[in-house]
Symmetry: C2
Subunit: 164 residues, 2 copies
DNA sequence: GCGAAATAGTAACACGGTTTACTATAATCG
DNA sequence: CGATTATAGTAAACCGTGTTACTATTTCGC
């Protein structure tokens, strides 16, 4: 078992002996979640790094690829990624800078900006797609169908608890 | 169900119809994990915010509280939190700045710095402890013992997969 | 013993993200 | 109608963290 996590478990026990009443399993679950996150991010970004992008940019490209005419608005980005508008702007900047998307004014609602995937963007998405899928598949390859279904259910429950 | 997550699920399906072969469940699991993380952080930090600290500072205070004589070295912080040395230095700075800990030279190994919890630090920890525990308990209160055990097992497996 | 390699702590900088504040446009309602 | 309110996008500042580069000290291996 992981060294650093083991260390944390011991700390929990020592705290309990001085100030009894620690909700042990709850703390462990929470800390496990924290511990996994940066590693999960690193794992997924590792494959993307070769292409000079970050997970959130990739997710945005995928979302645009899925849209009719490959068009969306920056706020769709923040909705889908569940992040701030500011972040959507920054991601848009990056897409444009790399020539994968372009900004167009929107006639129907002039507050909006149409963000359109370019041909280069489409080719880029289709080139990366197989790599990204392999990563995801291999990440979960140790898990049985039952385990994945269980975990999905439990995570959905947790998300709901957190006002998802 | 969560609006933004629902949006993401639809995007996955649309991608699949254009570029078939998406590992649907795997992608959903991964994205669920991403979606939950910031909300979990916000939930836990909300209670700590009133006391002017962040989750990682709290975890460090707890760890120090658990140590013999309330002493540890900055590298113990990075081990326990699974974060960089630099981050341990910054957290140490914050503890010292707030009067919760003090730095002492270490005679046995002069590369090291002894970080000692002050009396004020101990009082602070004991004051926050009940609040932090309540938060953790209430976070997981919807989950049965079985569910928590299941989730713990699955998360440990995931951590192991990620080289934990 | 001594030179090479490892380890501890820190500072400077980069990165990905949020909050706050602003402008422009659209929708609402009295 | 017109005034108010809501929404879309962006810029500026800040925040928590990681990477890289450095110094001081200890440990290792010849």
């Amino acid at each position: 078992m992981n060294k650093s996590f083991h260390q944390l478990e011991q700390a929990i026990d020592r705290v309990d002996s001085r100030f009894p009443g620690v909700p042990r399993q709850e703390v462990i679950l929470t800390r496990l979640y924290y511990h996994i996150m940066p590693r999960l991010g690193a794992y997924l970004n590792e494959a993307l790094k070769d292409y000079g992008i970050h997970e959130s940019v990739w997710m945005t490209l995928m979302t645009m690829y899925a849209c009719p005419d490959h068009v969306l608005y920056p706020s769709d980005i923040s909705d889908t990624l569940d992040s701030s508008r500011t972040n959507a702007t920054r991601i848009s900047d990056e897409l444009v800078k790399n020539g994968w998307a372009e900004r167009q004014p929107c006639a129907e609602d002039r507050r909006k900006i149409r963000l359109v995937l370019t041909d280069a963007g489409i080719r880029f998405v289709e080139r990366i797609m197989p790599v990204a899928r392999d990563r995801n598949r291999s990440l979960w390859s140790d898990f049985s169908g039952d385990e994945k279904a269980q975990l999905e259910g439990l995570l959905r429950k947790l998300l709901a608890r957190l006002g998802g």
